[in-house]
Amino acid sequence: MDYDFSFNVVLQFLPYLLVGLRNTVLIGLIGILSATTFGVIVALARVSRFRPLSLSAAGYVAFIRATPLLVQIYFLFYGLPEFGILLPPFVVAVLALTLNSGAYAGEIIRAGIESIHKTQYEAADSLAMTYRQKMTYVILPQAFRKIFPPLVGQASYLVKDSALVSVMGTLDLTKSATTFQAITFRPLEAFLPTMGLYLFIILVLIYGSSFLDKRLRKW
Amino acid sequence: MAIVEVRDVHKHFSQLHVLKGISFEVDVGETVVFAGPSGSGKSTLLRCLNGLEKIQRGSIMVDGLPVHDHKVDLLEVRRRIGIVFQQFNLFPHLTVLSNITLPLIKAKGVEPERARGLAMDLLGKVGIAEKAHVYPGNLSGGQQQRAAIARALAMEPKVVMFDEPTSALDPELTGGILEVMAALAKEGMTMLVVTHEMGFARRAANRMIFMDDGLIVESGKPEELIEIPRQERTKRFMQEIGDR
């Protein structure tokens, strides 16, 4: 082995790392929020009784699940300008992750909604609630309690997937590591801290999700 | 000649002291029924006899082999003492016939042809010969239990244990299983049976042991324990059973 690991180099990498970390965390948080919101919409569309809507939603989810995220990212990044829509890479990144994760989140939420027993719907209806009131105050809160753990799991996937936005030049955690590596040819000093950070964030989310799963079961 | 010797056996499940000094012997050909309230340790006791559970104190001998000695071959012990579980525990991915021939071929080294013959004989004996090539999932509870009994008997054990064999069955199927067991007892098989079925105890058992809270409270002829129990706890239990 011909490698001289140097902590000095790690210190040099630190500024890049922090910028990347900040961006990844930002993309992650915004992405999770918008993906969840979008997921609710997708889920409601899927369970809707209006056939064209539920079928289109089903088709959309199938498309997202059967195509790689990278292809979806390229499609948006290079395709949107063709329609005259010019967005900064950061926004395209969040958009791509939202559309992708939102579909998966939608499936999770849909499963949660469908697991709510019909009697709850009947009770809400007999209390003269409108569709909006019913969903907002009775169905969705119960569904959310059940699906919170798997949603946290989905959040971990989103953070993992966010690494791909580096291909568009977005300066996220991955991009900061590869840029530094390209300049200094010191992969270990760049990648090891980066991987450590990813591990920390993602494993916390993954184990957090199973912890929540067990805690909420008892509830 | 005692084929099962249990001396001062204690068992703990972490903090819980489940068996608090059990001692008894079973002779060849005897049928012993264990009765008692839930949690008295009856099932745990059976499971200690074939090494499924470990004991912390005391000793258990089955057919001359010390079950909990670390030098003993547990597989050999298990060839000599069989068990029929409350939930049947058949292998769902194998046919009834394969359920029986698998241990014969693999654990006893019997040739496949002979194993099949033995298995079919036993299936006939318990009354489900026509179900040999059926999967357990397609059988009724009673049929599954018969298969489980055949499976245990196929190993030609010296002792067979029954852990609440009819508790998971619908009432109308219970009788059939008890008949099979009674016939077995009559043929001279050494049997240890945990059950609530007092009718069976009267008919087929030589002895009944009443357990409560990890201890043997009373033991003797089944009719005696049922009709004229000496201990207060035994009396109360029999009354409760009778009321059901």
Binding site: V71, P187 | G51, K106
Partner: protein, 239 residues
């Protein structure tokens, strides 16, 4: 621009937003290139990577299930590492670090290695989960019938675990196929990379990536449906 002029000008090579150039020709070229240059590599990567991942995952899952001391903790660290990292990072790491250790692999070999390690970790989780799902009573039955550990695993536990594992394995294979698109980043000529290069030469990103998506869809959707179907069948069998 009215329909008449559009038909007249079609194929003349004049720039017409959003489609410029001869759409049919580009489409045909794309299909041919994807089919002959990209698809074989993607399929090969997917199959080879998945098979080796299954072998690795099965061994790791079994060892973790058997709770072999020390090795189990090492393997746990490996699995956690793979689950907690983006696949792209695993790929970059192997690609850039291995040469420093005098291990020079081709891009293809690096890709297969990365895919194997990454997917293998997930498969080992599936294997371990399915082995754990077999009820303790099955172990007890087998033990009571004097079957030793190897026989128990071989004839009772593993056969049951296998049918349980088919749906999640099918689902994992879809994820695996999608991961192969990431290896395009280390310049391996599979479907996505062909698409990227083509887009740069023909200047039609929408068309190029739409057809690319179609190829992946045709590849993945049947497997996806299979996995959902299997889930239903297995659930019914284990009532």
């Amino acid at each position: 621009m009215d329909l008449h002029s559009w038909i007249r000008d079609y194929g003349s090579g004049d720039a017409m937003e959003p489609f410029s150039g001869d759409v049919l020709l580009i489409t045909r070229t794309l299909f041919v290139l994807y089919f002959t240059k990209g698809l074989p590599v993607t399929i090969y990567l997917s199959l080879l990577g998945f098979i080796t991942a299954m072998l690795l995952g099965f061994v790791v899952g079994l060892i973790r299930f058997l709770r072999v001391p020390i090795i189990r903790d090492l393997l746990q660290a490996y699995v956690d590492g793979m689950r907690g990292l983006p696949f792209l990072m695993v790929l970059y790491f192997l690609f850039h670090v291995l040469p420093f250790f005098d291990i020079r692999l081709t891009a293809f070999a690096t890709a297969v290695l990365a895919l194997t390690l990454h997917t293998g970790a997930y498969i080992s989780e599936i294997v371990r989960g399915c082995l754990l799902a077999i009820p303790k009573t099955q172990h007890e039955s087998a033990q009571s019938l004097a079957l030793n550990l190897r026989q128990r695993l071989q004839y009772v536990i593993i056969p049951q675990a296998v049918s349980l594992s088919l749906p999640p394995l099918a689902g994992q294979s879809v994820l695996h196929i999608k991961d192969t698109s990431v290896v395009s980043i280390i310049a391996l000529a599979e479907l996505t990379r062909v698409g990227r290069i083509q887009m740069q030469t023909n200047g039609e990103p929408l068309l190029t990536y739409a057809i690319l998506a179609l190829f992946y869809f045709v590849l993945c959707y049947p497997v996806l449906k299979l996995s959902i179907g299997l889930e239903g069948r297995i659930a019914r069998k284990f009532r």
